[in-house]
Symmetry: C2
Subunit: 329 residues, 2 copies
């Protein structure tokens, strides 16, 4: 599902016809969620609009050097002052980071613009949806929208959007990276995206306690299945405590398993709110983890997906390894 | 120092006027050395030329999935059958991987084309030099030459050249990455470069023994200086032996130090042939390691450089840390 030029132009037009915009993204925002949100905010502001990003709670430490100035709390009366609501990079209502009083049903009655790159997006705006499942990141989709608007991308947007593009493509290594992706990144570099600053802040910024946590995890808890084609780890809660480390901060953890020679699928399991959190990555298109995640009521992309398992971590491990093994049958 | 269009066209013309080409690169070839060599070989072959790559010894394991079919041994009579000699990605005669009988003085009497992206290149061909110090990789310089030739880049060249581009830019994360770099990568993707295959072979292919070697190195031998702005490790020879691991295979090892939050300069020291091998990286343009490498008779780029130190590893550590510290004075 690719966005057409006319859809991109329509999205740009609707965004620019708004006056006071509230931007949402998914809970536990990653680089693409934040890059999309702030890239859009600065784009709208540079066109004379008002725009705010709403994020419940805090953002991961690694992103605090690049992203600041968002609402974490929003009284209902202030909420009603916005005329347009935009959700970026959020695949479904359950993941939306919105004020508690807001239901998806109410949001759908508003001037609500849904912009996403998750193929199975179910936000279901009654007003306007732009879902492009084959665009590598929501930030890249916004670059396309901005290019379609014929407004030169403001310099302030360039770094947030490049951050998002780099996060979701694993720095242009994942197979969602296309020639278009590279050209859109080139546009952002020309518009002033600060590569050195982004990379040092987001990719070369591993805190020492995280490094030590990862070191022990890989030494003591790495497991393999199916002749090493599956590598996985169940993260003991006490390990994270030992290093005073918040697992949710670690977007790149799973890549330590993925980068091992011969591994095709990498998986992490850990106890989270609401059950065992499962995160999966595949290195080869012919062994997609998307269907496995969906079989456990999860979602994501074909090569990067996740789910929540209700039960013990041991049961989750057994069930998931079995399901993943079937991919190779 | 940037290559002009007329220089690029001239390089393409001279390459295509040759009939039987021998391609050299630097010793201990990395992804850019190999990508440049094989990319050029396939380009020439697709235009009906004969071309061979000469590499003394073996190539790193991680590159064997992508690169094969080179000469490691070349009798003097066969050498004389080549009409043109091309050196790619080789900064100086001391680093050239050439047959033992060949001196630089003799090479300079030949139809010798020197193509490189190291600013201080001293190969000094009397026939033709194309040195572009601000191009991120020699592979990218070859993309530019091929585009200037007006021959569509053959599909077979695309993957080797993208491998080289990705190696020398750290997957488009290092500050040598420009908008042009991204556009040249886009061209290669359109010409059929196999991103998934490259990434799995080169970047997601860490052998288990390497992972365990790195794990112990980071746990037991990581040192800091200057409030963690300098991170470094002296690799004990017995550690590499313990894990049956060849340090020279590990292009990415230094990135484990570089990626730590707050670290600006990363350095590795280990005992090699001819002295203590020193490898340095800087994350910030205002603290270049190039001058430090040159102060120890080494070379490289401003943010990625190396040298060989004659003396004990302890003396090397002391001398280098002192010199690096002066950068921050």
């Amino acid at each position: 599902m690719s966005a057409t030029q006319s859809q991109l132009r329509e999205a740009a037009k609707l965004l620019l016809e708004s006056e006071n915009v509230l931007i949402f993204t998914h809970q536990r925002p990653d680089g693409d969620a934040l890059g999309s949100s702030f890239g859009l905010k600065y784009f709208l502001e540079s066109s004379g609009k008002k725009a705010e990003v709403f994020i419940p709670g805090t953002i991961p430490h690694r992103h605090t050097k690049l992203f600041s100035g968002y609402l974490s709390d929003l009284p209902e009366d202030k909420f009603n002052a916005f005329d347009t609501f935009v959700s970026v990079d959020c695949a479904n209502p359950a993941r939306l980071g919105a004020p508690e009083f807001l239901t998806i049903e109410e949001l759908r009655t508003k001037r609500f613009i849904n912009i996403d790159h998750h193929g199975g997006n179910s936000m279901g705006s009654a007003f306007f949806n732009l879902v492009s499942g084959n665009t590598a990141s929501c930030s890249e989709l916004l670059v396309k929208i901005m290019c379609a608007s014929e407004i030169t991308i403001p310099e302030k947007c360039a770094s947030p959007l490049l951050t998002g593009m780099m996060t979701d493509t694993g720095c242009f290594r994942f197979s969602n990276t296309s020639a278009d992706t590279m050209r859109n990144a080139a546009i952002l570099l020309e518009r002033g995206a600060e590569l050195e600053k982004i990379v040092n802040a987001v990719f070369f910024s591993k805190p020492l306690n995280q490094m030590r946590f990862e070191n022990e995890l890989m030494r003591e808890h790495l497991k393999f299945a199916l002749d090493n084609r599956i590598a996985y780890a169940c993260i003991p809660p006490e390990l994270a405590k030992k290093y005073d480390f918040n697992i949710k901060e670690d977007e790149g953890l799973i890549d330590l398993l993925r980068e091992i020679d011969g591994v095709i699928i990498a998986m992490l399991l850990y106890e989270g709110p609401g059950g065992i959190k499962i995160s999966m990555r595949s290195k080869e298109s012919r062994y997609p983890v998307g269907p496995v995640a969906r079989a456990f009521n999860g979602g994501g992309h074909e090569l990067a997906a996740g789910a929540t398992y209700e039960g013990s971590i041991g049961d989750a491990e057994k069930a998931l390894v079995e399901k993943l093994t079937q991919l190779f049958a």
